[in-house]
């Protein structure tokens, strides 16, 4: 019996508790699958010895009928920008190649406290800057559906790990689409919660007003369970918001009945230009299915949405330049040896430790924050952000959910865009708004086009995460 025989994590945990399969046998399968899928280059590190020790502990607990966590024996993977105690955390960068984490991300601790077993750390674009994992300073992960194509990014390793049946869930981070885009490219569910719902403590910072943490899973129910465990206020992250009293787990049909009356808006601005016709037609077919199923669906426009990418590529690099200024090569991180001058030592450490994309974003951020250009760029972007937020708030007075494709194109070929930063940035055009506005958004598998996966995005108002998950659970089979 394999863990993949169980459709949901809840069923798997029940089977483990009933001793239908041992945790040890699950971990054996996991590492067998890791060997089988090596050529996809999904993981940066794995923790075989520790995972088997953990499995043994949990199997013993089961035998002795001791209390068990809600994820007893469930293996998982995190993106390598989550700090895991006493283990390397590289953010796929040369800068942190030898960094050993002296503490642990709150979200990881919460999962381990529920007896989940950490298997390894997944590849990403260095510092989560990118949409393909090609910016990883180590190697590019390959798309499970076509080895010549990218898995999406920046959480590409996490999404590929689920598609390749290595583990049932993984954590990723989403600053402008980095959970949803790879979930779309790898045919999985990717959920970005409301800003502040999951603690960012212990996650390598990218752009602090946009960064969110969330799960990549095989189905919506699993995503809701993982969110239920990791969500909530944390003293170590003062931007966290309180959790929903009723929790987040999508339970049964009573949850789903609510959504039948839901009013849905199609973001028509996404369908005008810059979108692959096949992606558009596939999406419109899914909209028809929703209408046939009795949902109220109307076209809407978000006047400011065409500026979202412009706002994002000012605010995001500005915050990156600030967050990455801490890397001096002295306290931790890559250190340039044999330099005797203090300033040169820092410059050389940063120049040799950061890759090209990080340097580009640091310089753009430094430019838009510099005194002569602050008002024209940074402040302007913050003002347009306010107008964009107003657009969305207004729509959410009438509509419960806003939908659109997740990415305007299909998974692209490795090497196709990595010499053209603008072409790469355009892949984020449909995902950045949710980060700028701070609202929850999910990418659901929406069927295959020419053998390649495509995604269907649903957004809801801030802190309406539970309802968004319930609605997504209701439509996920319909649009698959």
């Amino acid at each position: 019996m394999s863990w993949t025989d169980f459709v949901t994590i809840e069923d798997l945990v029940q089977a483990i508790k009933n001793q239908q399969l041992t945790v040890k046998s699950i971990i054996e399968q996991v590492f067998e699958q890791i060997e089988q899928t090596r050529s996809f280059q999904v993981l940066l590190t794995d923790f075989k010895k520790e995972a088997f020790e953990q499995a043994n502990l949990i199997d013993n607990k089961i035998r002795l009928q001791q209390p068990l966590g809600r994820l007893a024996g469930v293996p998982f993977i995190v993106k390598d920008n989550f700090l895991t105690f006493n283990q390397t955390t590289t953010a796929a960068s040369h800068m942190l190649e030898n960094f050993v984490a002296p503490y642990q991300a709150t979200s990881v601790t919460k999962l381990i406290n529920e007896d989940a077993i950490l298997i390894g750390k997944a590849n990403l674009d260095a510092y989560a800057h990118g949409s393909s994992t090609e910016n990883s300073d180590f190697f590019t992960t390959k798309n499970p559906y076509d080895k010549n194509r990218v898995p999406g990014g920046s959480s590409g390793g996490s999404a590929a790990a689920i598609a390749l049946n290595i583990v049932p869930f993984a954590l990723g981070t989403d600053t402008g689409g980095s959970i949803r885009l790879p979930a779309s490219f790898c045919n999985q569910v990717g959920f970005k919660p409301s800003y502040g719902l999951v603690s960012r403590s212990g996650v390598v910072a990218m752009a602090s007003s946009l960064d969110c943490i969330g799960p990549i899973t095989r189905n919506v129910k699993d995503a809701s369970l993982i969110l239920d465990i990791i969500a909530g206020q944390d003293q170590l992250d003062s931007t966290t918001i309180s959790r929903d009293q009723v929790g987040y787990v999508v339970v049964n049909s009573s949850d789903r009945k609510i959504t039948r009356k839901a009013k849905i808006g199609v973001i028509s601005d996404y369908l005008i230009d810059g979108i692959d016709q096949k992606v558009k037609n596939n999406f419109l077919n899914k909209v028809e299915l929703l209408k046939k199923a009795g949902f109220q669906v109307e076209d809407v426009t978000v006047p400011l949405i065409k500026y979202a990418l412009g706002v994002y590529y000012i605010i995001c690099p500005a915050e990156i330049s600030s967050n990455l200024s801490r890397y001096d090569g002295l306290r931790y991180g890559y250190h340039q040896i044999n330099v005797n001058d203090f300033e040169t030592s820092i410059e050389m450490s940063r120049s040799n430790g950061f890759g090209r994309e990080a340097k580009r974003r640091i310089m753009i951020g430094t430019y838009v924050l510099s005194s002569g250009y602050y008002d024209a760029y940074y402040k302007k972007a913050q003002q347009v952000r306010t107008k964009l937020i107003d657009n969305f708030k207004k729509l959410f007075k009438t509509y419960d959910f806003l939908i659109g494709p997740t990415v305007p194109i299909l998974p692209f070929k490795i090497g196709e865009k990595n010499s053209d930063p603008i072409a790469m940035y355009l892949t984020d055009v449909m995902t950045v708004s949710a980060n700028l506005v701070g609202i929850p958004a999910i990418s659901l598998p929406a069927g295959m086009i020419d053998g390649l996966p495509t995604g269907f995005q649903v957004m809801a108002d801030s802190q309406v995460d539970k309802k968004l998950l319930a609605f997504s659970a209701e439509i996920e089979e319909l649009i698959k």
Binding site: S209, L309, Y332, S351, K359, K387, I389
Partner: protein, 99 residues
């Protein structure tokens, strides 16, 4: 049309960013940065008169916790990533010249 950076601008920007750029990288960085500035110049057409800037989206203010020290059992681990650590201090290159 957005501002376009010259070679000198890019070198100055690198210096401000505590980065050094090799001469063979200069052209590519200049091109890439200018393209991004072109992309974001789309915001020029948006009227933002009297619009307040958004710094954060939660609306939370003055989140505090009691100022108590908590014993951290792994204090030594905090320093094992430093290049050089002696007697409780980080050792860094000299900042001031002797003469």
């Amino acid at each position: 049309m957005a501002n376009q950076l010259s070679d000198q601008d890019v070198l100055k920007l690198a210096k401000l960013s505590q980065l050094t750029i090799k001469s063979e990288e200069l052209e590519v960085f200049k091109k890439d940065i200018n393209e991004v500035l072109n992309l974001v110049s789309m915001l020029d057409e948006v009227d933002v008169t009297d619009i307040k800037p958004t710094n954060q989206v939660t609306g939370l203010e003055n989140i505090t916790r009691s100022d108590e020290s908590i014993k951290y059992s792994y204090s030594d681990d905090l320093f094992h990533n430093a290049v050089k650590f002696e007697d409780g201090y980080l050792v860094v290159p000299k900042i001031i010249n002797e003469n």
